[in-house]
Symmetry: C2
Subunit: 170 residues, 2 copies
Amino acid sequence: MQFSAAAAPPLKVTPASPLFLREDEIRRGIELLYFGYSAMIRGADAILEAQGLGRAHHRALYFIARRPGLSVGELLGLLGITKQSLGRVLTDLNGRELVEQRIGTNDRRQRLLLLTPAGAALEARLFTELERSMASAYNEAGQQAVTGFWAVLMGLVPPADRAQVEALQG
Amino acid sequence: MQFSAAAAPPLKVTPASPLFLREDEIRRGIELLYFGYSAMIRGADAILEAQGLGRAHHRALYFIARRPGLSVGELLGLLGITKQSLGRVLTDLNGRELVEQRIGTNDRRQRLLLLTPAGAALEARLFTELERSMASAYNEAGQQAVTGFWAVLMGLVPPADRAQVEALQG
DNA sequence: CAAGATATGTCAACATGACTGTCCCAAATC
DNA sequence: GATTTGGGACAGTCATGTTGACATATCTTG
């Protein structure tokens, strides 16, 4: 997990032009975002397939691991899909005993989502795959690049949604 | 299209820790990549839906616009899908006269893909949506952040695939 | 307490975009 | 001439999203 301590020199890319934003620079961002995103999630796919699960299951596991005890409604908000779509995924995950639901303490209508030990183990394996890819990219690009990476991505998120993303941290 | 000239101060995000890569920093990257990517493509979806097209059609139009005259095989390599999946999309786009195919000059087995004027117009509208989102994020984050954004994303791409991504540029 | 709003679950039907496997043709290459 | 390569086509399947309607339990409010 070391980062840029005794690491390789930062990955060189052509720097962004200081004054003007040409179409090519926009297209470069679009393309790198597409290929980078695809590359990051690719590693987890083999694990998922072996379990008979898909990416939708992974996303649910991921956010439940990130915010244990979150409600179904909160998860719906994060995923941005419909209740029906999520329902299928949660039914699967419950049936495989990867996720369990507890009745909310403040509001008994809520179902709070938690990983079972088996669910936590699977999520950890999946996370390790993403981490391998992301840590390598951070390391290669250097610390300052990571800060810029975060800033541009946060800039892509509509301001109204940023609080939700920030709320996942710490 | 101005960029950081008389722009707002760079978007502040908590900087990456200099020495260690904690799990939270990896998760932050994963999450921002997920939400940022989702946010960027969301804008184009409404246009696509009005045309009865999907994201698969958009990706094909995008790369044909980017590299006019590329072959079916090259497009397959960029998209990373199967011939059958792409075939349906190209059949659609041909039928709507958004894309046309010409027989390769060097190799007459190849079908070189080009946008028709209508296809170019649609791709331009879709690109404008992505551009609006990306330009705003670049502007908000600042030039140096953009360079870091590119570097981390390129670091995510497996080295063997990087040449292909670079080849799209200029 | 009654009425309404909210959180969740469920059923049916459907669209999209991936997949696999198989087969075929034309053109290039050995 | 035989093999490989680029592309197209058919049939079937799966994963993941959608809409709309409806049910139930619980919370909130007049």
